[in-house]
């Protein structure tokens, strides 16, 4: 636990962890009031990449907002695709065929693994270890190749449509995915856990650093691995199930310590759980159509709909208010990193600067998603 340092205003100086910094992933500005090495106050300043996505939704039809969803959190783009599609499908009463649900689950879990791999590499880059980034990218290339084979894009996938997915998957994808699962499982113990997780230098840098208690999480609405690293077993896939998750068998990793090491371990375990989910989906994959019959211009009945999914960073939810027109009246997007970042101001008091950067890395922030 860190205690705040009391000192007179004359002894402190203001340091700008400016919008351009190698350790904040994106354009994030943090105003730090420091007393020597220790942080007295931290204030994140946002808005450097605000692009008015929610307003753009009101200016076009429902289908025209689809390319905006992956541009928010580009690392787990398919979860955002899924959240928006689910909201519109609930509003319009569209039923998604089963094969499409399975394909959606396989691709979204692959995307979750690729997001966690990139987080792992970038986190270690902040801490000074340059090599694990390239090992993670080696595996991530395989995922990107698989998803490119199906969707055609490598990062900002615009693959889901209302009522299903755009293209069907073929045998090359399923065999490739099975090989990828086998390959990643064989590389995890040595390249990921032996090299990094067990390393004494990393343990000394992460254990007991940046303790976040469950009360702080509840106060700021933190979700995702940040919440599960504080001991609370909450996952949208289990607590508010959607899609075919009720039929799948997987665990929710959670650790009670609440320090950076716990959040790190939660994400590593989530990669393993995602591999389990993908295997079960591949075994159970049914045949059938991949897209339901949807009218060209969608006019959902007037109403208020809500859909939440578990993105890689936390709970992503959409609130859609329609008024019978072909454009939405209001689309509200709740981004998980926004709530995760807001608790940084409270926990950073009394920390060393290096520790504060390690904690920000463990929160897994993607700034374009925060600013939307």
């Amino acid at each position: 636990m860190t205690e705040p340092i009391l000192c007179t205003p004359d002894e402190t100086f203001v340091l700008n962890l400016g919008p351009q910094h190698p350790a904040t992933h994106g354009v994030l500005r943090v105003k730090l009031t420091m007393d020597g090495e220790y942080i007295v106050e931290a204030e994140p300043v946002l808005g450097y990449i605000h692009r008015m996505h929610e307003k753009m939704a009101e200016n076009g039809t429902f289908a025209q907002f689809m390319p905006n969803t992956p541009r928010m959190d580009y690392l787990s783009a398919l979860s955002f695709n899924q959240g928006y599609c689910m909201a519109v499908e609930r509003a319009a009463g569209i039923e998604v065929p089963e094969r499409a649900e399975y394909i959606r689950t396989i691709t979204v879990e692959l995307n979750r693994i690729s997001s966690h791999l990139l987080w792992w590499g970038a986190f270690l880059l902040d801490l000074g270890g340059f090599t694990p980034l390239l090992y993670a990218f080696d595996d991530r290339e395989k995922i990107l190749d698989l998803l490119e084979h199906v969707t055609g894009s490598r990062l900002t996938y615009c693959y889901y449509r209302f009522g299903g997915v755009y293209n069907d998957i073929d045998d090359e994808f399923t065999t490739g995915t099975r090989e990828f699962i086998k390959r990643l499982r064989s590389r995890m113990p040595s390249l990921y856990h032996d090299l990094v997780t067990g390393n004494i230098i990393l343990i000394k840098r992460l254990r007991d650093i940046g303790h976040i208690s469950p009360e702080v999480c509840r106060k700021y609405g933190a979700t995702g691995p940040v919440l599960r690293g504080s001991g609370i077993e909450y996952d949208v896939r289990k607590n508010e199930p959607y899609s075919i998750y009720p039929e799948l068998d997987f665990d929710i990793p959670h650790y009670p310590e609440g320090d950076s090491m716990a959040r790190y371990m939660v994400r590593m375990d989530e990669i393993e759980q995602s591999l389990r989910i993908i295997e079960q989906c591949l075994d159970k994959l049914p045949g059938g159509p991949v897209q339901a019959k949807v009218p060209k211009t969608l006019k959902p009945p007037a109403g208020d709909c809500y859909a939440a999914v578990e993105a890689a960073k936390g709970t992503f939810s959409c609130r859609l208010i329609c008024d019978g027109d072909k454009k939405p009246y209001r689309l509200k997007l709740r981004s998980p990193c926004f709530s995760n970042l807001s608790l940084f101001g409270e926990i950073a008091e009394g920390m060393l600067l290096a520790d504060a950067l390690a904690v920000m890395g463990s929160l897994d922030l993607v700034i374009p998603e925060i600013d939307r």
Binding site: L15, P22, A23, L124, L127, G128, G129, F130, T131, L134, Y135, D138, L195, V196, N199, I201, L202, K204, R205, L352, L353, A354, D355, L357
Partner: protein
């Protein structure tokens, strides 16, 4: 010994050439090593296998503007990078490359090399202080405290070796380890006592860790790699000032590897007696040790400054003092029994 005028001149040219080539091409080695550890190729476009890359880097650095910011201490700012290079090149004088290839046999060469290393440490502090920049000063001060903390266990370990061999002359220490790898101080099975074969590897580990920390290499590179905010004491330096600091660092690595080879691995001795010894073995050992330096850098993340100082004061110093005590006891016991 040939006392003509040619010997010192030839050795001067030889030492400068060796130092210059190493300072430049170690950068190439590091980038290639880093590349292959990360499953990619390092530099490859400039020249075959990228061998001319250091030349290209040197030309780039020399053609940049040598900017001297306002408000800096003029003389100290310009002297600091030069002061970082001088001790490393001068230390080459005292190192025995083989029984005959030796720039100048000095009786107290161990003392000379460590005295010069302290000057190199002072260059960092001068560079940081003369930069007129708050963050440079803080990171230079941190780097100096790190260097001081790690010099102590290093010197205590070297005292252990000096006690074992009975002389501070590097050539003498290497001569004591001739005959095969069982005589080398890292694992002296055929040495004075079997008990020493157990503690000397620990001594080597302590010495090696300290030399990694002394040269400011990862995982102890608080001074240079993004000292959380800026580039440490080298922030205000551009072009060749920065180039000199980097070359000084690489030369320090070479000197550290040479010292380790002489103190622990028998200098120019070959591991098996029927293979002739010579300069080639010395060079081979140095480059193997430099490869280990590079290997360590690209494997581990960075430590935190207080944990780094903890490691030195709470772990390395007690262990090295204990080893010193044990070695003294064993030598005394041997002396009484024999």
């Amino acid at each position: 010994m040939d006392t003509s005028i040619w010997r010192p001149i030839l050795y001067l040219i030889g030492v400068m050439a060796f130092a210059g080539v190493n300072a430049a091409w170690l950068g190439w080695c590091e980038r290639k090593g880093a590349g292959h550890i990360q499953r990619r190729i390092g530099p490859k476009e400039v020249g075959p296998f990228g061998l001319l890359q250091p030349l290209a880097d040197g030309i780039k650095l020399m053609t940049k503007q040598l900017l001297v910011p306002q408000g800096v201490d003029g003389i100290l700012f310009r002297v600091a990078p030069v002061l970082a290079m001088i001790p490393a090149i001068t230390s080459m004088v005292a190192i025995p490359f083989s029984a005959t290839v030796h720039a100048r046999p000095i009786e107290l060469s161990v003392l000379l090399i460590f005295a010069l290393a302290s000057i190199g440490m002072m260059a960092i502090l001068l560079g940081g202080w003369a930069s007129n920049n708050k963050y440079s000063l803080i990171s230079a001060a941190r780097s100096v405290s790190q260097n001081v903390a790690y010099e102590i266990p290093m010197l205590v370990t070297v005292i252990t070796i000096v006690m074992l061999s009975g002389s501070m002359n590097l050539e003498e220490i290497a001569l004591q380890q001739q005959g095969g790898f069982w005589n080398w101080y890292i694992f002296p099975i055929a040495g004075q006592s079997i008990a020493q074969a157990v503690i000397m590897p620990i001594s080597f580990l302590i010495f090696f860790t300290c030399s990694v920390a002394e040269t400011n290499r990862a995982p102890f590179d608080m001074a240079e790699a993004e000292s959380e905010l800026v580039a440490g004491h080298m922030t205000e330096y551009g072009s060749m000032g920065f180039g000199l600091f980097m070359m000084g660092e690489y030369l320090n690595i070479v000197v550290g590897a040479c010292l380790t080879a002489v103190l622990f691995f028998g200098g120019w001795d070959s591991p098996l007696p029927f293979i002739p010894s010579g300069v080639l073995w010395f060079v081979l050992k140095i480059y193997l040790l430099i490869f280990i330096f590079i290997w360590i850098r690209w494997t581990y993340p960075r430590t935190q400054i207080y944990k780094l100082l903890n490691l030195s004061w709470k772990i390395l110093i007690p262990f090295s003092l204990a080893i010193l005590l044990l070695t003294a006891v064993f030598i005394k016991i041997e002396g009484i029994l024999i």
